[in-house]
Symmetry: C2
Subunit: 265 residues, 2 copies
Amino acid sequence: MADNNDKPIRGAVSNDPDVPLSFPTTCRDCVVRSRAWFQPLDDDEVDAVQHYKSEHRVVKSGGHIVREGEACKELFTLFDGWAFSYKLLSDGRRQIVKVHLPGDFLGFQADLGGPSVCSIEALTDTVVCVFPRPNMMHMFQEQPKLGISLVWMTASDQMMNHEHLTSMGRRPARERLAQLLLELFIRVRDRTGSRDDSIYFPMTQEHLADTTGLTSIHVNRTLKELRQEGLLDITRRRLTIADIQRVQSEVGVDLERLTQKQRVI
Amino acid sequence: MADNNDKPIRGAVSNDPDVPLSFPTTCRDCVVRSRAWFQPLDDDEVDAVQHYKSEHRVVKSGGHIVREGEACKELFTLFDGWAFSYKLLSDGRRQIVKVHLPGDFLGFQADLGGPSVCSIEALTDTVVCVFPRPNMMHMFQEQPKLGISLVWMTASDQMMNHEHLTSMGRRPARERLAQLLLELFIRVRDRTGSRDDSIYFPMTQEHLADTTGLTSIHVNRTLKELRQEGLLDITRRRLTIADIQRVQSEVGVDLERLTQKQRVI
DNA sequence: CGTAAAGTTGAATTCTTTCAAACACGGTGG
DNA sequence: CCACCGTGTTTGAAAGAATTCAACTTTACG
């Protein structure tokens, strides 16, 4: 295993000098503390994961971690920064299907042998831990617990997906946006352990539009509405939600419950 | 293990006398041939699954297999008939998140210990194989391969979910509807092995509306449009698609690829 | 300081929903 | 056999939500 594993690379890329995502400070931590992985891993298992990792990789903002259609040769753990998975339509429009935060596991899909079904783009400058796919296969065979954690992750994503689906299908723009923003707010604070009422927030209105299925213009107007009602505010790459409960009731879904870590088996 | 396992219960409930879903004819087959389960199971594993099953259960059309909010004590394989998972909004509207066909595995979710996150309703009269949750846990521990198959299922659902999400977010009513209908058409024919250009189709326009995020009125108008263009037709509980390719190109997604069985690990 | 990217605003258009009213069909019971 | 009823489908007209097009302002950044 490479001997730079425990070398802190914190701050290698940083888009948020004042309130950094105090996430993994070494690659070992990256694996251990990642939301993606089932919590109670013993040292053996952690070592195993470390072993299968091939490298760190820096991907600049706007760059691609995975490209739809290309063979999926590697899997990733998002180590630092934000990213998102999206699908492109023939007319050039896109739909963002998931926003990734540090710790998320990227690139996994049903047909690992086939072409990637989504593109993954770096939203900020990012660092990812790279796991070559063949290694990964060994790993899951040798460490069944990690396979289980994979079930958990996927099932958990599924649940959030259903929530999004419901939102897109049956809720007006206001609620869709509020729900998305609240969800990200909670996810970030869960990871950083922060209790601050504002978070670093690198998504543009166009990203929000592509996530909620609206136009960036309509996102703009809706955001203005929400701001004027004092529900939330996005200024200069910061999202502020003063009263979570108020937004919560606006949204009508208990997102805090949904974003909790849950045990599968 | 109960000795009625190999007793054919085919036809116990039937909504489609002329072209029945020629699916499982015994419960053993139910497990073996289910889309839900990873293909190459050896006899040991099949026996194991049989062992953990507690019973068959008949659920009449409109009845609930799972109720959102209630503890999830059992998991199911849909043995015969159609069902769907949905979420209810506070204002009474609903979003169908997935339509289930015979062979699908129902009720699995990230938080197995907690309340169900979706309701599952029988669309036609149905028969389900019931697996008490504690049994299930044993099973996955003793038969790792089945755990793997679970990963595959969930990941595969995920992919379809992303497709729906994209459809709902970025496609007009025409394409959304066409995509849904084509998907179901393909899934049914895959399971039955049929080459017929029409399938039994029990969904009402309201079901279609709740799946695509439209109004049943708008579904009606859009369906009329699609019918007049000769793309597809729904009459008397039958969906006919004469030229799959034409609908395919209308939709712009290769659904046939997506609905294929794929190997995960 | 100048340029590109992101955000803002208005007006017109399009898509989708809402409300309201018929219509068709399959089953029930007289 | 037919009237009756409920569910599901169809249609029209009006209202509402979201998009498009187009221009303008602000912010970030070399």
